[in-house]
Structure formats: C-alpha cells, structure tokens
C-alpha cells in the first residue's frame, strides 16, 4: 500500500505537471480537489487516464470519480480493490 501511494504521487506529479511539488509535499489524506492540492476538472480527467494507463481501470464517467478521487489514500484504496 505504501509503495502504491508513493508510486501514485509520482504519477500525479508527472502527469499533472505539478512542477514545484515533491512526493513529500503531498499529504496522502488531504483533499486533492478544491482545497489541499487545489486540482480541477481537467486534472480529474488526467487522473482517470492514469487509472487506465497504469492500472487498467476504466471509469466511464467523471461523476463516479468524485468520492474515489478525494485523496491519494482513497485513490490508492480504490486501485488496490480494482486493478487488473
């Protein structure tokens, strides 16, 4: 789980172009959207792509993504349960 969380943070930094941020800067339990990292709807789409590209999980619409994408931790938990 820790390894997945670390890996996820790297993917987020890479795919979302979070330039001045290191994995240590990202709090696994803090909200990703609105507060916390302050990501937006375009980032949500990019995260959906990360799930598909690296973990084989296909989310068909961005609406079901909301609770899953709350924090890095909830994202990791979802991946653990659903990865191919």
């Amino acid at each position: 789980m820790e390894q997945l969380i670390g890996e996820l943070k790297e993917h987020l930094i890479e795919e979302l172009n979070l330039e001045e941020i290191t994995p240590e800067d990202i709090d696994s339990e803090a909200p990703l959207f609105r507060d916390g990292l302050g990501l937006d709807s375009i980032d949500a789409l990019e995260i959906i792509l990360i799930l598909e590209k690296y973990y084989g999980i296909k989310l068909s619409n961005s609406a079901e993504a909301k609770p899953i994408f709350y924090s890095v931790k909830t994202l990791a938990e979802y991946i653990m349960k659903n990865r191919k």
């Binding site: 937006d40 709807s41 375009i42 789409l45 959906i48 619409n61 961005s62």
Partner: protein
C-alpha cells in the same frame, strides 16, 4: 446607422442550403447519425455529419478537384455563396468577409501528419497548405467574390457570433458596404478525439436541457449572414441586428461557472445595446449543447435574466450537433429566419426538465408566429460568451 440582415446561407448535417435545413426541422428529422461515415476515425460516436465527400463538395461548388481545398473551406464557400446570392450583393460595392473557424484545414492536416510523423520528407504538402485559419478565409474570399476587407476570428464555440458582431462594427464604421459574417468547421478526428478526451461527448443523440443529458454530439457545417447598413439596403431585409455582446466567464478554461456569469452578462449587455428589456424577447436560440455543465449554467443565466418570464427557447443542436465555430453562424441564420418568417424551432430529445431549474424548452416546430425579437447564444472554451439580438 443600423445594421440589417439581407442574406442567409447554411450548410449542416441537415443539408445544403436554407431550405433543406428548415424542411428538416419542420419535419423533425435530425441530422445526427450514429457514427461518422465520411470522417476517417475509429470512434463510434453520434455526429452531425454532412453526407457528402470532399470531392462531391468540390463538384457542387464547381471548383476543380486539383485545387484540393480543405473541407472547412468548401463548406464555408457553399454557405457564403448562398448568403451573397440571397443578398444580391453588387460586385461594384465593397464586399467584405469576417469568417471564423476552430478546425481550419485540420481535416487534411491529420492525413498529412500520419505520413510526416514516420518520415519528415513524407506527406503531401498540398495537404497542409490550408492548415491555418486564415488560409480558409483566403480561399473563401477567392471563390466568393470578396473584394474588400477580410479577417478571421477564432474563439472556439463563440467564433461565428463574434464574427457577426465584428461584421456589424465594420458596417457601422463604413469599412465595407456588405459583409459576409459567420463561421465554418468540418468534422475532424482531432476535434472528435479532443472532445472525447474531455469526456463531454454523449454516446447517444444529445438531449439539451434534459435531466438525463450526458454530453454533446459534434457536428459540422457553415453559417453566414450578409449584413448591410440600413440606409443602403433594399427595404425587404430579413431583420435588424439590434444588439450584440461579447463577455468572458473568467471562471475556468473549459468549464462554465455554475451561475453562468459570462452567459448572463453577454445576454444582458446584448439586450441593453438593443435598448430592449428582457420582456421583449420572443424566442431564445440557446447554446444548449447537452452537456451537464452548459445546460445548467445557461438555465441559471436564463432565470437570473428573465426571472419568472422566460421566453420560448430551444437548442437546435439536436438537429445539427455542435458545429463549434460554425454554431454561432448557423444558429444566427436560424434566428434571422425565426424573426423574418415566424419560425419556432423544436428542442429534440427532451423528456424531463433539469430538476434544479425546471425549465421546459419548446418541442414543436411552428411558423407564422409573431416573433419580434430573438436572442441567439454561443458560449465556448476560454470563457468566451457571445449573444446576438435580432429584431423585426
């Protein structure tokens, strides 16, 4: 000097020419097909595609095949010519062109790039000659007898409405005697895939303003108006362009603010310029793409502007799809005809209103109504919101 509309030209999935478009809407026949037939793509998604190949369009426009024009240019030329003939524009006068496009010549470029990517000496240069937006306008000017000022606007989905607006300014400031104003966009794999990556395409036919709406369908086409000063035009013009406005939502690059701030400001300012109160509006041709976001934001803006008295409104995108840069032009043309002939257009695929707002669009085509004032909306990426007001 007031600005009047003396010519109209339309090409869309409903067909070539104003008549085909009106007849289809009268008969409730949508131009949306289950998937593209002419556009080369692996995507199986509903689109508003004109069922004519580029070769057929060349022949229809009487332009030799070897000229190898972009599809966007061909659609534009056909629609602009219809509008100019309709206006009986005199070649001895200054005839200008304000065109718009978001796709440009991408329909040809994407074919070129496929080869070029493998080997940078491969790919036929004739496929990229017309890539940029200005090249489309240049071709249109050449084939439509334009002899005065031309320009090209590109502001995503509000492009053609902005073109009409700037065209009006050129008339008001006596830069030209006639101006052909509007937009053209052909379907391209680039845009289809682009919108797919944004997850705002519906896998079924779009359902503007419906509770269950799930996205837009892309379409292609071209729509142009001919504008003149009221002092110089023949008395039997279609209608007046009484108001217009361009405002920016300034909320997010692709999403609209929940309250539709930009939309509200554009509509309010357009009416203010026309010296009309919201009560004067007979019909709104909405932007109504069928996305969750737009239709909610636009509804919120309607309520904010009109309160309890929302006029008849509909989105015609259930017929044509979202024609991007051409949308503002095609829909301006529909709006002009609405005022001139009393047409009210139906909003296809509507069953239940959006819970939060409860607004119900017009579902039947009708004609001969007293339509004194039509508001036409076009909102797009980059926060661009434009509205046009046509009156009798």
């Amino acid at each position: 000097m007031g600005v009047v509309v003396t010519g109209v030209g339309i090409v869309s999935a409903l067909g070539v020419g104003v008549q085909s478009n009106i007849v289809s809407m009268r008969e409730g026949r949508s131009g949306i097909s289950a998937h593209p037939s002419i556009l080369k793509t692996g995507n199986i998604l509903p689109v508003g595609e004109l069922r004519m190949t580029n070769d057929e369009l060349h022949r229809l426009a009487d332009i030799p095949l070897h000229k190898h024009l972009s599809r966007t240019a061909l659609l534009g030329i056909i629609a602009a010519r219809e509008a100019l003939a309709d206006a009986k524009a005199e070649p001895s006068k200054r005839i200008g062109l304000v065109s718009s496009t978001s796709v440009g010549g991408m329909d040809l470029t994407e074919g070129f790039f496929r080869e070029f990517m493998k080997d940078d000496s491969a790919g036929r240069l004739r496929d990229v000659r017309m890539h940029d937006c200005g090249a489309i306008t240049s071709a249109m000017a050449h084939y439509c007898g334009i002899n005065a000022y031309t320009t090209t606007i590109s502001t995503a989905c509000s492009s053609a409405a902005n073109a009409v607006m700037f065209g009006a300014k050129l008339i008001e400031h006596d830069v030209v005697d006639y101006v052909v104003a509007g937009g053209s966009d052909a379907l391209s794999a680039f845009t289809l895939n682009g919108f797919k990556s944004l997850m705002i395409l519906d896998r079924q036919a779009c359902r503007p303003f419906d509770r269950s709406r799930a996205g837009l369908n892309l379409g292609e086409g071209a729509g142009y108006l001919v504008l003149q000063g009221d002092k110089n035009s023949a008395p039997n013009y279609y209608c007046r362009l009484a108001g217009y406005a361009n405002r920016n939502d300034a909320h997010h690059q692709t999403a609209t603010s929940a309250g539709g701030e930009g939309a509200y400001l554009a509509m309010a300012e357009a009416l203010k310029l026309a010296n009309l109160s919201p009560r004067a509006v007979s019909y709104i041709n909405a932007h109504g793409t069928g996305t969750q976001n737009n239709d909610s934001a636009e509804s919120a803006a309607f309520i904010r502007l009109f309160g309890e008295n929302i006029p008849a409104f509909s989105s015609t995108k259930g017929f044509t799809g979202h024609t991007l840069a051409a949308a503002g032009g095609i829909e301006a043309a529909y709006s002009v005809l609405s005022v001139a002939k009393g047409f009210l257009y139906p909003n296809l695929n509507f069953s239940h209103p959006i819970e939060e707002f409860g607004l119900i669009p017009n579902s039947e085509f009708s004609e001969g109504k007293d339509i004194d004032c039509v508001l036409s909306n076009s909102f797009g990426f980059g926060g661009n919101c434009s509205s046009l007001v046509f009156v009798r």
